[in-house]
Every structure is written in structure tokens, then in C-alpha cells.
Amino acid sequence: MQDRPFIEVRGLTITAGRDRRQIVRDVSFTAEKGEVVALIGESGSGKSTIALSLMGYARPGCTIAGGTIRVAGQDVRALDAAGLRRFRGKTVSYVAQSAAAAFNPGWRIRSQIVEAATLHGTMGKAEAAGREAALMETLALPDPAQIGARYPHQVSGGQLQRMMAAMAMINAPEVIIFDEPTTALDVTTQVEVLRAFKAMVKEQGVTAIYVSHDLGVVAQMADRILVLKDGEVMENAEAGELLERPRAAFTKGLLEASRPRRLELPEAPADAPPVLEVQGITAGYGGTGPDGLPLYPVLHDIGFSIPRGRTLGLIGESGSGKSTLGRVLAGLVPAAKGSALINGRELDLRDAARRRRQDRRELQIVFQMADTALNPRQSVAEILGRPLGFYHGLRGQARTGRVAELLDMVRLPRHLAQAGPRALSGGQKQRVNLARTLAAEPALVICDEVTSALDTVVANAVVELLVELQRELGLSYLFISHDLGKVEAMCSEVMVLWKGREVERAARDSLTRDPQHPYTKELVRAVPQLRRGWLEEVTAHG
């Protein structure tokens, strides 16, 4: 018993569905007490499924079909319902990806945090409240004694995420599972949260399983990294070793994809005419006030111009107004002030319906969530065929032929034309999404966070495709993203948006080398790097 590892998983196999498809195959690993083990892989690699199985849990439709799971001396698979109930929350606890979805908005935060303690009867109310305040302090939350009295909507996303860690730690569990805990956060917030998590893990001496798709984050948190692909372990090594001397080809690919890249952009003539010129756009939500401006302004006096064949990157944190700017230009949100010219023609900024057909055709938008951007009840051929018929009057054979050409352009096999969106992977959906805008033969494409829902490798491929299409078709892009790496990879010029205002604009290389505005400096610094110890450096600075 004594010389057994603290967490021991042997030959774990998990099946899904009626056909008992194996989504996790023969996975084995161990963790010593106090160690942080990271599970990393793309979506569908089984990393969350494995993490959940440590709590004896399989998602509906999934079954733990084989193998042994021992956690803190317990054979997890042998526990009955009552045993699992005592085990979960007390011995092992869980931090989910979205704290906003995990907290009940109608209850005060403290009552939700101490609930686990009173439920398991580990401590009295007063003692639990004391421990809650101590945890809030460990997690570097402001006013730790009082902040628990707030409701979830009264704290920021990063704070709420840390509070979920407090909830998980209230019973002093021996194992804590982090399931993509910072994926939904801005990079600048992510740094603080990671630092708080690391301090907490160290102080409490807890063993942690850290699930993530972000190698940069994992490099900061983990002692040991398991690389997963299609439910199988590709590599299992000590973190520093894996980052410096990866052995599996898949790990090498992952490392390569996580490095900052700079794609070679097509040459555009210096005197290229502007495709889009924007001046003094002010917009917002919530009706108009007496001064004719929106009650809740989101954008203030934004102006820029994009020359033919160039890309303007637009970067900012969530809530900075970057997506709103895309929607204003697309005609989905009316602008209160300002004007825009597309190829020299005035663009109506009140409503897309008022625009000339040519304006709508030349300015296209690609949405962030490819899942919701494609009608699930239409086939790819119908989705791509509609703009062909609508803008260019193509029918019958001509239309079918053009759909096939469009699929070629976005590097998709032609037989996908008859499939529905549900048959496509995330990356394929985003390519169809892009092909739909190409069907219009646009001059400018607004790309609204087109890569943020995709895995690193897939996202890189989409960015490369965008640049290739720019070279072939002379397209211009407004590339909206929160990911500095992607923006740097493909944009000739970058604009930084902060609280609805432009705070900095620079050519692609000078922005990272010499950021001017304090927010830009923070942003550049907060991008996780693959180097171990980066987190400590950053936090030592700030």
C-alpha cells in the first residue's frame, strides 16, 4: 500500500454509444502526492473524459469499460453510489471550464462555496466560513473576508474562476481536477488566475490533474505532461523534458504549432487604393440618449482604412468592442455616428437591408462559431449555393460546378457538398463558413474570432488558408481576434482596442517589440510562452 503511487490508472478504457466505440484506449499513468499532472490534447482526445473518470464519473452514454483507477488508496471503480458521494467533493474535487455556468446566479457565492463542507459534514458553518475567507486570500481575491457575500454577477470572470477553485478546495481534498479552467478567460486575466492556482496548489499540498489544450499554460503549471490523441497516450514525460526533448512526432507537431509564427504575406503595392475607409464610428446598445448617442456606448470614434490585399488585425480583451465593430460594419448593429466607404462608395451604417446589393456582396463577414453560422437543416451545397444564386444568379449545373470550385478553394473534398454541417469537424465547418463568403466574391472579409473555437493545429491551418486566399484573390481582411499570436501571424497592421477606444496601432512586428500603451504592454507580456518559469518571471515584473 505504502509504495503505491498516489494516483494510479492502469489500462483505462472508456466506451461511448451503443456501438461501444472506444474513446479512451488503454491509458495508464501515475501521479505522486503533491504532483501536478497535465493532460493535453486536441478536442476529442479524451482528456476531460479521463479526468472525470478519476472521480468515478462517465458522461451520459459513456461507460468505463476496463482498467483500474486508484486514487488516494481507493479503488474508484469499486465504489457504490453512496461511496462515490463521500469520495467526490471530499477526497477529489473538480474545477470546471466555465465558472459562469457553474455558479447558481441566484445564491451568494459564499453559501455555494461552503455548501460542500456542510453537505459532507466535515466542518461547522463558522469554521467553513473561516476557511472560505482564508482560501479567498490564498487565491489573491480582493477583500477576502467580504467578497464571498457577493452574487456571481458582481465579480469578474477571472475572480469567479478563482472562487470555483475555492469551492473545490473547501473540504481540503487530496486531489483537485482542473478542466480547462482558464480557456474562457482573456490572457491578461489568465495570468492572475494561473498564478493564484499555482500558489494554492503549493500551499495546500494537493495533487492536481490539469486538463488543457494550451501547451503554454500547461508548461507553467505541470510537473508531468501526458500528451493524448484519439484517446491514447502519445507521450508521458516530465514537463521540462517533454518541452525540450519531445520524442513522439505528435508532441513535436503540437510544440511547433504552439510557437509564435509569422506567415509571409503577399506583397501589396504601396499605393494600393483603400478597400474600406472608416471614420469616427461610435456605436453601442440600449437605445439612444438625449444627445443622440447610445445609452451604453461600446465604441468611441473608431477610424481606419484597409488597402487592397492587406489585413488589419483588431485585438482586444472581451468587452473591448472588437466584435461590435465587426457587426457595425456588417450592418447588424447600427452606428450612432461615423461613416464608412467601401471601394469609394458610401456604406449605409444603419442597417444591412438599406445597403446596395453590391455593397453587401463586397463586404462579407465570417462568424466566430461555425457551429451556429451554418443552418443544420441545409446541406453544404445548399449553404454555398444560396449566395451564388442570390448575388450572381447561378442556377443548375453552373451552380453545382461553382460549389465544387469553392470547396477546392478552401481545400475541402468535393463530396462534402452533399453532407450536412453536423457531419463536419470544427475546422471543416469554419472552411465552409469561409467558402460561403467567397461565393459572394467579396473585396473585404471581416473575420470575427474565426480561429478561437478551433484547436491550435487546425486554427493554424485556417490562418494559412486565409493568407493563401489573400494571395490568390487579392482579398482584404479585418481580422478580429483576442489571440496576439494569430494576429501577428497574418496581419500587416494591428490595431489595439481597449474599452471601445483605439489605444495603439502599429505594423505587425513593432507591436510586440515595442508596445507603447500600458494595456498593450500587459497584453504582450501575458501571452503564455512555452518556457518553464515564464509565469514566475511575468508575475515578478508586475
Partner: protein
Amino acid sequence: MIGARSLPRPLRLRRPGGWPLLSLAGAAVFAFWAGIAVFGGLLAPHAPGEFVDSWDTLAPVSAQYPLGTDYLGRDVLSRIMAGAKYTVGLPFLTAGLALFAGLVLGVSATLMRDAFDTALSWLMDTFNSLPSTIFAMVAVAGFGTSIPVLATVITVLYIPSAYRNVRAAAQTVSRLDFIDAARVRGESSLYIIFREILPNILPNLLTHFGIMFIYIALLLSGLSFLGLGIQPPEADWGALVAENMVGLSYGAPAVFAPALCLISLTVSMTLMVDAVSRRRKEP
């Protein structure tokens, strides 16, 4: 490796072939009643008003009269077959009309300005708060009991619930990005309603149609039972139960047969609704 032919097609309504067995049974029973509703008058062995055996009223099941005779000695089987056109047809018609009106109003509410939406929703909620049986009784008392009046009153009564249902479903869909994509493309409202929104809310609509059908069938039968629905000499199943209530103490099939028919009709519709409303599980 996925071959080109095995790729999942776009999401369509499931063909009845893919339905669970119970729902198929429901569909068979419903199809049977729909056939009776259309052809019942022609197929009935006797005219519904014919006094086949005036001496032996409320007779039990016999070879000559499979479901016995009623309180005036008429053939119950023939009367049920003739009444099917009201009990099956009228709910089908009124639920369809209510659904269509609800569709037009509900989708307009999602696409039009907020003020229109709010005003319409208030109006509909006011209507919804009226107790349906009492409202129908008052309306029938006021306008008289004819089939057009009944159909109109019931349609009006059920528009609000159809409106609410369509609006809720359409609003969920209209927030999705592909609707924005269509708007940016410059599509007309009609295209957005019929090509983008409608296919996505069709399962909701069919489910709601089925549920409305059941409620209306029961409401109509209830009204007829109270004597406010279909008037003699015509009779729907509710009226058949009411006029033969005397037979209850004799255990006469004249009371139970129409009631059982009504149950089989509503249960068969429920089973069909199950098949349509069940979402296809993710693979």
C-alpha cells in the same frame, strides 16, 4: 475512414421508418381514424339516424350490431363512424388554423421591432388567461351552436398558445449566426422565415400541433357532452357518450365504445408526438 456515401445528411425530420415501434402503432391507429373520418359515412352499415331496432335499445354487443344499439335503438358502430368526421376532423382543422396563425404572428414578432412584439405578446397573454371551456361556452351561447362558430371560437382560443410556442422556438433560432448571415446577405424576411427559421422549428411545430389536437379533441367532446357542441341529429363522440349516459348502469357498449374511441385517438396522437419531439441523439 468515412466513405462519401455514409456521411450524415443535413438534419431533416426523421422519416416515419425510423420511428420507435409504439409511435408506429400510434400512427397506424391515427391513420385508421383519419380514414374513418373521411369515408366513415359511406362505409357505415346503417345510416346514423336510422332506428334499426327500436324495441331493443341500449343492446349489448351482437353479431348484427357489433357495438350494440343506443338509447333510441340506433346502430352505435354507424354513429361512431359518422361522428368521426367531427371528432377527428374538427380538431385537425382548428389546430392547423391556430398553428398557421401562430406561425405568422410568432415569427413576425421575432423579426419585427420590439414594440410590435411586446404589444402582440400582451394581447396574446390576455387571451391566454381566459379559461377555455368557459370562454367557448359563452361564445357558443352568444353566437349559437353551428360548426363554423365552433371552429372559429376554438381556433381563436388556441392561437395564443401556438403563438407563444412558435415565438419561443423562433427566437432561439433567430439568435443564431446563420440568421445574421442571411440578413447581411440581404435576404427578404420571407426567405428567412421559410428557408432558415421554419425548417429548424418544424419539430416544435408538429409537437405543438399534436398537443393542441389532443386538447381540442377533448374540449370539443366536453362541449358536446354538455350539449353545446355538435347538435342533434349529428353527433360527435362526446355527444354519443352524453346521450347514452342512461346506459351506464346497464354497462351498455353505447357509453363505453365512443369513450374508448376517443382515448385511442388521443393516445395514438400522443405516441406520434413522442416520435417527432424526440431529438435525434448526438452520435
